[in-house]
């Protein structure tokens, strides 16, 4: 049975800067937000949306308003009551485009109002994602009064001061102390609403200590030495070894993380030369010529799965009956012949300097593709340069990774395929049908119809192959045998609310 009390120490790969629902923009920030700030709705274990601070929600038939009722007796960590006013404050902050990068997610919201515990969101247009957004970290509820009391001339300064002072929170934990770059301590929030399996309020742990250890090997050594209870981002190469360690549990949490390689689909390269990859057949051929199982073995040490769609299988509305472009060199050869490129051609893979995974990817692809006459060359750049090349279309193929931040397929689909957003992840792939479907799906309130639109989009995308579809990877976290119940959600959030430690 569950035991209450005690503390655990968690080794992180990077530190948070500001854990604020609105300003969080790097994974180490946003994956911590829900530990401190509860949202109105929550994502259940299966990914479905369930009630959170709100007892439930009610979308109007026209899709233009949502009503939510807050639970009774909600209180912040300092004991003050959590009311509709706090919700209005928090959501108005979240959708203020002047502030954080996530305001666009609430772009459809026209007005948020509250009457006691009744909260109403009025929308400008129907938005099928709005319910998911209300379960997303950026709509976490902050205490209006306490925040406004914080020192500072503008919201940014206030947010910082509020955070530094050990913020008043609505989530399962409060922040007790923090040394930037080094450590952080979360304390149990005694006023958290959600009951645990023993009927008393969560969380079970009194305290969670975080230590920041960017180096993978050091992080693992620390875990093995028993100095910490859990270590995140275990390199896949070490998963086998740690699974065999009797003192540890090697957890591979399902994730929405995918690893893929955008292909430049423009007719000409940046330097003006003709781009062979503009031909869909060539892109398909390269996909066929890539043995994903080998890559999965080499890069993820068999912890990954081949991609079955543009989005991970853990994403809502995913459609992908089978792995895309199963290894088929003959088919690849044939496609290249059809494209008139049987004589072979040069392709450059832009890799991230210092990344062993990219290096492996390159070595493997080079070996896989050379029988086809594809001469793969490598260009090593740093992260910002890769970003710039991606934006300006100055690349052939490069690798990228992605994990959803929102429990809805629109984010990843827009990112990867919608031309008007970012030229379909910089590939320049511009499919009119796909774009129309995407736009329609964003205002489609009928779930069935939307699901259908998503199925079509995923089919079109797979066919168009603007990516090298590689693989999905889990979140690998190694946890001491004495700690139970820690979860990393498919979106990456660190959830300590139901973790407990055996004495």
């Amino acid at each position: 049975a569950i035991e209450r009390g005690g503390a655990m120490t968690f080794a992180r790969y990077d530190d948070s800067t500001v854990i604020d629902p609105v300003y969080a923009d790097r994974n180490p920030d946003l994956w911590m937000v829900t530990g401190l700030y509860e949202t109105l709705l929550r994502n259940g274990p299966d990914g479905a949306v369930v009630p959170g601070l709100a007892e439930g929600y009610d979308v109007a038939a026209d899709g233009l308003s949502i009503r939510l009722k807050l639970r009774d007796g909600l209180r912040f960590s300092d004991g003050s009551a959590l009311t509709g006013a706090d919700v209005v404050f928090s959501l108005d902050r979240a959708r203020n485009p002047e502030l954080g990068p996530w305001a666009g997610l609430l772009g459809a919201v026209d007005k948020v109002s509250a009457d006691g515990n009744q909260v109403t969101l009025t929308l400008k247009n129907p938005d099928p994602t709005i319910v998911s957004i209300l379960a997303t970290f950026n709509t976490g509820i902050m205490p209006k009064a306490a925040f406004e009391k914080a020192a500072g001339a503008n919201d940014q300064e206030k947010a910082r001061a509020f955070f530094e002072a050990g913020p008043v929170t609505s989530g399962p934990f409060t922040m007790k102390s923090r040394v930037q770059g080094s450590s952080m301590t979360f304390d149990r929030n005694p006023n958290y609403w959600r009951p645990g399996s023993d009927g008393k309020p969560l969380p079970y742990l009194d305290q969670v200590d975080f230590v920041i250890i960017p180096d993978d090997a050091t992080r693992i050594l620390k875990l093995q030495a028993g100095e910490v209870d859990a270590a995140e981002f275990i390199p896949f190469a070490r998963v086998g070894e740690l699974s065999a360690d009797p003192a540890l549990k090697m957890e591979l949490f399902p994730s929405t993380r995918i690893v893929y390689a955008p292909i430049n689909t423009r007719e000409t390269r940046k330097d003006g030369s003709k781009n062979p990859l503009a031909d869909v057949k060539v892109r398909q051929a390269l996909n066929y010529a890539t043995d994903k199982s080998v890559l999965i073995k080499l890069v993820t040490f068999d912890t990954g799965k081949p991609m079955t769609s543009l989005m991970s299988a853990a994403t809502q509305l995913h459609y992908g009956p089978e792995p895309l472009y199963a290894y088929n060199p003959e088919k690849a050869k044939q496609l290249l012949d059809e494209a008139g490129l049987s004589g072979g051609f040069d392709v450059t893979l832009t890799t991230l300097a210092g990344s062993a995974d990219d290096a492996t990817l390159f070595t493997a692809l080079q070996q896989m593709w050379s029988p086809l006459g594809v001469n793969l060359k490598v260009e090593q750049v740093d992260n910002p340069t890769r970003g710039e090349k991606n934006r300006s279309g100055d690349f052939d193929i490069h690798s990228y990774g992605w994990a959803n931040d929102v429990n809805d397929p629109a984010q990843v689909t827009g990112w990867l395929g919608y031309y008007k957003q970012r030229q379909a992840v910089g590939t320049g792939w511009n499919n009119a049908e796909f774009n129309t479907l995407f736009e329609a799906s964003n205002v489609e309130v009928d779930p069935a119809k939307r699901k259908d639109e998503y199925k079509k989009m995923q089919e079109i995308y797979a066919e168009g192959a603007p990516l090298l579809f590689l693989f999905e990877t889990p979140f690998a976290v190694a946890v001491s045998k004495s700690v139970e119940g820690y979860v990393q959600t498919p979106l990456g959030a660190n959830d300590f609310s139901e973790a407990w430690r055996a004495k």
Binding site: V179, S182, I212, T218, P384, N390, Q421
Partner: protein
Amino acid sequence: MPSLSYLFARLLQIIPTFLLVMVFIFLLVRLLPGDPAIAMAEAKATDAQLEQIRHNLGLDQPLPIQFLVFVKNTLTGDLGRSIMLKAPVTEIILARLPTTIFLGLYSVLLAICLAGPLAFLAASRVNRPVDVAIRSVFQVGLSMPVFYIGLLLLTVLAAQLRWFPVGGYGKTFLDNLHHLMLPALSVALYTSAIILRNLRASLIEVLDADYVQFARAKGLSRRIVMTRHVLRNALVSTVTLLGLSIGNLMSGTLVTETVFAVPGVGRLMLEAIFARDYPLIQGLTLTFAVLVSVVFLMTDIVQSWLDPRLRQS
């Protein structure tokens, strides 16, 4: 003691050096490729967001203006806001600096404790087995990259033998001594090898010097000859070397802080570079330069305290 005017002159010398340092830093950071805005926003941001970020950072101003602003702000202690950590650079650096200074002092101390006695032993038994053994061991130390020494210490002393924690930073002073022992040692090993080599050589030279022979001819006791005449003179050049190797030491902390997960400015520097955090890189480089200058200044003072010939400015 060195005179006030000597100190004053020495301080004045720093000014032109520092102006140049500022120019170097400024240019270097402006030359970094890649857009800090992109680095900051990563892939997901829109173009409008990028523009906004650039404007906020003042990156849309002409370079000379940016430089003047940089100088003015630096002089008022304002190094800008870190992109990556979203906080004033000065604040971040001040928070992290003590760790690095602690680590630096700790390793200097270790290096001296390690090298000093052994150098004496070696110099008093020139070319005998003890001397050869000491020199060989340190010669090997000299050929090892700091990160490798760190890794070995980490694997053997921390992971295997569990004598020391694997990494990180303690909370109390003693705790820190314990936590930072290995990182300090891995930096110290290299520095101590250099000190040993130099100190041994200058001890041998000083032992042979006329004034030491003369001191012996005066019939002074061995203790007085050794401390007053030999050690003090041998230290003059070693102090310079120690000052000069502070740069090495700083470079060392850059690497060890990464290997040992020590939250100091060294690791921060690497992170800032990988994140293209202009203001932070600027601030950190400046910090390193200030640190090194301060150390140079201190060695100069110690030296002029040791050696009266250096006191005339």
